[in-house]
Every structure is written in C-alpha cells, then in structure tokens.
C-alpha cells in the first residue's frame, strides 16, 4: 500500500471520471475554444490514472 503509484492512479482516475461526466452531463463551455476540453482532459486523466494503477498492480 506504500506504493505511491496507487494514490496517484486513484486520484487521476477519479478526476478523469468526473471530467467525463461533466463533459456529457453539463454543458460547460469555455469562451475562446470550441473544443470539448472536459472530454479530452477527462480521457487523458483516465488513461494516465489507469496506467499508474496498472503499473502498481504489476509490481505487487
């Protein structure tokens, strides 16, 4: 449990999920871009978090 990759993996997975929910459920928009920032940001964080968790799992 002392593997630092676990908390890092968890928080980014969580952040990713929350951003994805925001991307689909709420119509948040930014002023200067048409890109769905929450969608791509959410995917990036979900991927990063999962990789961290996977690495930690593989090590233990």
């Amino acid at each position: 449990m002392d593997d630092l990759r676990v908390p890092i993996g968890l928080i980014f997975t969580l952040f990713g999920v929350i951003l994805l929910i925001a991307a689909f459920a709420a119509g948040y928009r930014a002023e200067l871009t048409d890109v769905n920032v929450n969608l791509y940001g959410g995917i990036a964080m979900l991927v990063f978090g999962s990789v961290m968790l996977w690495l930690a799992r593989r090590a233990s």
Partner: protein
C-alpha cells in the same frame, strides 16, 4: 473567473488525497532522520520528480507564464541554459561529495569540509531565506486568489498553510516528497492543456511566429546586443550570469533541491536524481512558458483576449478563464494550488532540517536523545509554517521591503557556488578562506545592488549606474558576487593552514572514491544519461535558435 460546484469538488478531492498520503506515510517516521531526511530510502523516480517539483512553486509557474508574455521564448533560457546544465553538473560532479560525506544537509557538508562558522553562516542565511520565500509566495497566492476568485485573503492563506502543515507534520520529508510527485503530475496535466489550447488557437507555433516580432520567438538570434532583445541582456551576461553563476548556484547549493537527491536510497540513485529530473525539466517550457507566448499572440488577434499588461502575473489565470470550462477549470485551479503547496512544503521541510540539525543541535542543545530532535523537528515544522504566515501578512503592509529581500535572495547562491567549487575541488581551501569569502561575496553583492538601479529597483543608497533591465542587473551582480567570493576565498585560504588530507576523505575531489557503476545497465549509469540530456538540450536550442 466563475467557479461551479464541480470545481470545488475537484479541489476538495485533491486536498483529501494530499492529507491521505501524509496519513499513510506517517507510519514510516520513528526517528529524527526518518522525519527530516527520509532515512535515505526513497526510489529514484520519486526523488527526481520531487527535485523539480520543489522548485516548481506557484511563483515559478505564474512567473514563467508572465515572462513568456513579456520576453517570449527567451524565457526558456532559464531552463535550457540555466537549470538543465546545472542539474547535469550537480549529478555528475557534486553529488558524490554530498551523498558520500553522509552529511544530512548542505550546511552540515560545509561543517565537515570547512568549519563551524562557515556552517553557521550558511545555516542562518538559509533558514531566514526559506521562511521569507515561503511567506512571500504565500502572499502572492493569497493576493491572486483574492483578485481572480474573490476569495478572502486570510481564509485562503490559512487553509492552504494548514493543509501543508498537517501533511508535513504527519510524514515529514517523505510526505513532502511523495506529495510533490503527485503535485508534479497535477501541474503538468493541469497546465499542458492550456498550452495546447492557447497555442492551437493562436495558429500553432507558425501562427505565433507570424504574429509576433522576431526577437520574441528566437532564443539566441538577438542576443548579440542587449538593445536588440526584450530581456536587455547580451549572450555573455546570459551564459555567465544566468547560466553559470545563478543557475549553478541555485541547483548545486540550495538545500531545498539538493535535499531531495540526498533522500535517495543509494549513491547511484542520488547521482541519477538530477539527471533523470533533467528530462522532464527540459520540456517544462512548453507547459509553463508557451501559454504566455500564445497569450501575447492572441492579444494581437482580435479574438477577445486582452493581455493584462499592467500586471503580467495575471496572464496565466486570465488564459485559464478563457480556455477552461468548469471542470477543467477546477483542475487548473487545483494545479495552481498544487504548485503552491509543493513550493511551500519544499521550503518548510528544508527549513526544519537546517534548524534542527544545523542550528538547534549544533548551537543550542547538542547531545540530546534522538527523540528530542524528532520532537524539535516537528516544532520547527509548525514554527516554519507560522513564520511564513507572519511574513505573508508583513508583506501586505511592507511590499517594498519584500521586493528588496527578493532581490537580495536572488543573489545568495551565487557566492556560495564559488565556496563549493573551491571547497569540493581544491584541498588547499580553508575554513577561514571560505567564511571570509562567503561573507564578503554576499555583502559585496548586496552593496552593489544598493548602488545600482534597474527598472526602478535597487539603488537604496545611491544610484551610480543604471542597468538596461532588472535581468541584466541580476545577472551582472551575481557574477560580481561570485567572482568576489572566489578571489577572497582563494587569497585568504593561502594565509591559513589547510585541513590535513586524512580529514578530507569523501569531501574533496582527489581523495574521494567516485563510484563507477560499470556493471549497471546503461540507463542506470550517470554518464550515458547526462550525454542523452545534453544532446536533446542542444537540439532544443537549435530548433528555437
């Protein structure tokens, strides 16, 4: 900037995790060394990310973005001429002495190499400096949140300080370092989208180049003449002042960063810490400086973005407000908070070690049982945070004094680097020489600062010379302080007897075994890593020539 409940949720989650990490690693603390030096047990990927994160405070992030908008891509020199070469130097040449000496801090190394008075001078200067720096950045953050989000200054300062206090108190240096790694990833993932979105909106790099004057989008081409570039410096001042003196001084002698490498679990890992850290460090300009340059380009495009040119520190937050919708905005804000906390925890965890070992144990109460020093380390943590808060409040009333202090602090490591060079690479250097040199160099630099002026700063005694920019002033005075310390240390050393060679083992070049690591795979050896970094660094400089 308007926040939605989701942004607060993300911020609250982050606070929870930071405290949780402190709670988990608290079990590792049973002695004062566990608390203050991590008991030399941290793996290299963690120490190397903490190595850069401790320096990546909120002021750094906000300031780099501001400088990007002000000076353009030349700001990257702080990384490509400054930090990275210095990191290679400290890893290859200096870490064998730091780690091999078994010193617990930079001042303690000075004690082993020279004498008590040199340690005392460095320990006291460093302790004062860290507390003030952390207070000043706390003030800057409080003001920023007040301005941008309308948060109450007292509340945001106290809340963020309380969280840093709790997790450093729980797990000591290990907790600070572990959280710095989390904070590093947050800073990168929180700000990189801003760089991508703003640069994309400005038409990519070619679009930015087409909209801005040439001397903002080149790093070297306009450095022949100080009048030709926005920084107001020429190549010599940049390489010798920023590169050699200031950056080598900072990355090689500042305990705040060196402490991270000293926490590594082996000599090899300690040497690789700054080298591995150099890889992400080289690319950080694309995360922290690029948004500033893009902002400058956007402001000339008539898309509804105006540069806050009366206060460049707002460039980062105004960009976030324009490009981040609620959700990502929460992440960006969390990243800002994370950068602040990593900077502050870095200061506090370096302060408590220097206070406990180099001041308290050395001068106030030696020979106490270890449990007593563990207790003192905790007290020093609380005191460090309390003094930072006090400084933040003093800063609200005496802004000018803080400006002066920051100018002086920016010079402190320059003469110290001369002391280290002479101490680590010459057996002839003596304690008397080091002490006199360090004192003269620091005072001489400060004196010169008070006699010259640049952009209205400095010149408190008289204004005998005006520099073209505050950067030029900073670089030239640092070179002067370095040279003064170097010469005085050398000359005074000749007048006093050197330490016998038997006392210099593992402290000085020539009487120290430098590990070769021949049997290790190439990526676990310092030299190949340093070569790769150097090659990539040269390529980056050429690309943005």
């Amino acid at each position: 900037m308007k926040l939605a409940w989701i942004d607060y949720l993300l911020l609250a989650l982050y606070f929870g995790f930071v405290l949780g990490i402190g709670w988990i690693v608290r079990r590792r603390v049973s002695t004062s060394e566990d608390f203050l030096t991590s008991g030399r047990s941290v793996p290299v990927w963690i120490t190397s990310l903490a190595f850069i994160a401790a320096n990546l405070g909120a002021q750094e992030v906000i300031g780099m973005c501001a400088s990007g908008a002000k000076y353009g891509i030349m700001t990257a020199h702080f990384y490509w001429v400054g930090a990275v070469p210095a990191m290679l130097f400290v890893g290859i040449f200096m870490m064998p002495f730091y780690y091999g000496s078994r010193a617990r801090s930079v001042p303690e190394y000075l004690k082993l190499r020279f004498d008590e008075k040199t340690r005392g001078l460095n320990a006291i200067t460093f302790a004062v400096m860290t507390v003030f720096s952390s207070g000043i950045s706390m003030y800057a953050l409080g003001i920023l949140f007040q301005l941008v989000l309308g948060w109450n200054f007292t509340n945001s300062v106290l809340l963020s300080a309380a969280i840093v206090l709790v997790y450093t108190l729980l797990g000591g240096l290990t907790s600070a370092i572990y959280n710095e790694v989390l904070q590093f990833f947050l800073i990168v993932l929180g700000f990189a989208p801003l760089a991508i979105l703003s640069a994309y909106r400005a038409g990519g790099w070619s679009g930015i180049v087409s909209r801005l004057p040439e001397n903002v989008t080149h790093t070297w081409r306009y450095l022949g003449n100080a009048n030709a570039n926005p920084m107001g410096v020429e190549a010599f001042a940049l390489i010798a002042g920023l590169g050699f003196t200031l950056s080598f001084g900072y990355w090689c002698t500042n305990f705040l960063v060196v402490q991270r490498a000293m926490a590594a679990d082996s000599m090899s890992a300690a040497r690789r810490t700054p080298l591995v850290a150099a890889f992400p460090k080289m690319f950080l300009p694309f995360v922290v400086i690029l948004p500033g340059i893009a902002a400058l380009a956007l402001s000339k495009m008539n898309v509804g973005y105006t540069l806050p040119s009366d206060n460049y520190n707002l460039v980062l937050t105004t960009l976030m407000a324009k490009f981040y919708p609620s959700g990502m905005l929460g992440i960006g804000l969390t990243a800002l908070m994370a950068s602040f906390m990593s900077g502050m925890a870095g200061n506090v965890s370096a302060f408590n070690t220097v206070w406990t070992y180099d001041i308290y144990q050395s001068y106030i109460r030696p020979n106490a049982p270890d449990a007593h020093y563990l207790w003192m380390g905790r007290i020093a943590t609380v005191a460090g945070v309390a003094l930072s808060i006090l400084t933040a409040y003093v800063a609200t009333a005496f802004n000018n004094i803080m400006d002066i202090l920051q100018l002086v602090f920016s010079l402190v490591n320059a003469p110290l680097f001369a002391t280290f060079l002479l101490g680590m690479f010459s057996k002839r250097t003596t304690g008397n020489g080091a002490f006199t040199g360090l004192l003269t160099g620091t005072i001489g630099g400060t004196l010169l600062l008070s006699l010259t002026v640049a952009e209205g700063k400095g010149g408190w005694i008289a204004q005998m010379y005006t520099f073209r920019s505050s950067m030029a002033q900073n670089f030239w005075i640092a070179m002067f302080a370095f040279a003064l310390c170097f010469v005085v240390t050398y000359v005074v050393s000749l007048t006093s007897p050197p330490k016998p060679v038997s006392e210099l083992h593992n402290l000085v070049y020539g009487v120290t075994d430098i590990p070769k690591d021949k049997e290790a795979v190439w990526y676990k050896r310092p030299a190949p890593l340093a070569i790769i970094v150097a090659v990539v660094l040269v390529i980056l400089n050429i690309l943005f020539w």
